[in-house]
Point group: C2
Chain length 432, copies 2
Amino acid sequence: MLRILHANQLSPAERTQLLNRQSMADYAATERVEAIVERVMREGVSAVRALTKEFDGVDLEELLVDPSEIAAAENKLAPELKAAFQQAAENIEDFHRMQRNLLKDSETTIDGARLGFRYTPVDGAGVYVPGGKASYPSSVLMGVIPARIAGVRDIMIITPPAKDGGVDPAVLYCAKLAGATHVLRAGGAQGVAAAACGVIGPRVNVIVGPGNRYVTAAKSLLAARGLVRIDMPAGPSEVIVIADDTANAEFVAADLLSQAEHGDDSPAIVLTTSVEFARAVDAAIVRGVKERTKRQALKQASIENHSFALVFERLDDAFDFANDFAAEHLEICTANPEQDLRKVKSAGSVFLGHYAPVALGDYYSGTNHVLPTGGAALAYSGLGVELFLKRITWQFPTRASLERALRPILLMSEHEGFDQEHGHSVAVRFKN
Amino acid sequence: MLRILHANQLSPAERTQLLNRQSMADYAATERVEAIVERVMREGVSAVRALTKEFDGVDLEELLVDPSEIAAAENKLAPELKAAFQQAAENIEDFHRMQRNLLKDSETTIDGARLGFRYTPVDGAGVYVPGGKASYPSSVLMGVIPARIAGVRDIMIITPPAKDGGVDPAVLYCAKLAGATHVLRAGGAQGVAAAACGVIGPRVNVIVGPGNRYVTAAKSLLAARGLVRIDMPAGPSEVIVIADDTANAEFVAADLLSQAEHGDDSPAIVLTTSVEFARAVDAAIVRGVKERTKRQALKQASIENHSFALVFERLDDAFDFANDFAAEHLEICTANPEQDLRKVKSAGSVFLGHYAPVALGDYYSGTNHVLPTGGAALAYSGLGVELFLKRITWQFPTRASLERALRPILLMSEHEGFDQEHGHSVAVRFKN
């Protein structure tokens, strides 16, 4: 069921083929989304209401969830589930607070002038939470907590309403627990555009969180216009497991299937030095799919069409492949995972050792689960508090330090054709 | 010549009007650019050659500048200009090294599991440098130095060739001085696409630097596909000067005109508590435009159509306006500029005191001049080393810490419909 390939038998073209994920180019979605965004900008809340009726089949007069409904959500959940969310929220808070504490305002003196930077939060942040058939309260925690720690004033959940116009109580509970200030019952491109333009409730400056192709296209479009900053384009979830002979095939097979559970296009890859190990993983996957039948067709499609085992002669070559792939999730199931971590140049989040399934980071441990997919980890990091902060630079020169800069600025601005005013703006301060 | 307005006479709609810059929506450019990007991806270097011939009027066999040509550039520049670039490069290096030194790898222990993050540089960075009639060696320094400090291996200048196929020696000199490894003689969307896809020389993962509308559209398009990370969409340069009665009208007028020198659409704004001061600035501008006649029509258009003086009763209200405007450059020409800096929530870079013209930061002091425009400073920061770094999170749980997470993960993943595999991937580690 799992393709087993040998690295030393691959041509360069075949290797490139394995590294390629499906393209994220989605011009059709972009075109539809352009029209929706323009309409929301032009017509405001009535457009959002009409589009929610059209796409979600719900006719809502009031698009913001009432605070009383958010407060009431708590009573609809089992105490043990609430306790689980609370502990997860606490762990996420601890991890992101460490990150915030390291981002310090700073200054220095260069050539007689004082220069520095300071961090300030954005005013508003939107956290997209997919709805429809499923519900993702964990994404609420992952998006809202870093924004709150950054000091964002208005934090808005953007989520499509269910057929009855409601929002999952667990989403509402986590919104309150994490510190969201608003819940917008509008999804898709119209929900994103409404939040970015301040059509309903406060305007948001940053929008994070995964969504369908229209949500992704709307986020990118608004970012291209400079209206919002976004986390990253979202594609199918994916994992690479690097396993040496200390790894457990049952554990690895379970982790691959947990990735495949996301949909029919999730790459689940194992890199190993042992073909026997690859076969054992395959056998465990076949058994697992037979035994655990929920979402069976999706899992099967991901494993058969997007996944593989790749056998290397040297473990270091496996790390080279993983760095070129730049997986969203990377598990290192080896004898010395911490030492091996130093070989990782590109990945979203890394899971070390034999007791680190990706599900732990998805839900509970404290790291963020909003991570770059599809090779974007070659350039992007996972979501963190810095996305909700601006680093504003400043300088406080003295008269003497500016005077030393006069001649160099005259020369450089002259070369660029800006001497008359740029140069003059320095020179005027030293006339007579 | 400079419109003088009174804040207390503005309706909310008029205030909003003053805050609005021209829209950055540019669907026409995006459509043209899509075709160019697809063609470069499909046809490779021959497409880049053909498009360079079509748009730049030059037929080039070799699109990478030869190292010998880069080395020879040094001999074509005046020693004093080279010394100016060297001192500027040193200042930029110092400022960005301070920033890099503050980004530290870190770890913590949460609920018995070790978690942390580490920074790694991207492999390749592209720095776009506009060409054509003008040349911007200062942009070379601003883009390349932070990338080198971040540890980027391949740093490529992307710049359109002149009519004779050459590149300005100052650009080549600064490329070498700053630490660029490649200079690509191809600009526009085709140059950006070539660099992002590794069509000529190394593939780059990040592209920074301002360009024309096609460059901006190409950067956004490639970012939306997850192929590159970019700094921000670029619009017209702009300044707000906040001035109290300690400010010098001649200095302020010079700084406004230096902004207007960029083009015919650059907002140059002064916020003050004194209508007499506003009139004095206006008089100095009128005199300046008459005396210094280069780029006169451009300056006049920027001042008349995009600029204004706004008179407030209280200086704090001026800061509120500036925060809503989120200017690329903000000068604080007041008695206590450092104290006033604390009132700034949104701006690209802030210039404090009476000896801090924007030109100082454009060329020399050490802060970056690649900054958010058009209101993007509500969410974005100026260019810094972090754009060239990935923050990779990791976790190393123990068996015991994972076991504590088992029950919460079962409950949360069940709620999201992922219990069968996500939950199982944890549970399997504790079977028998």
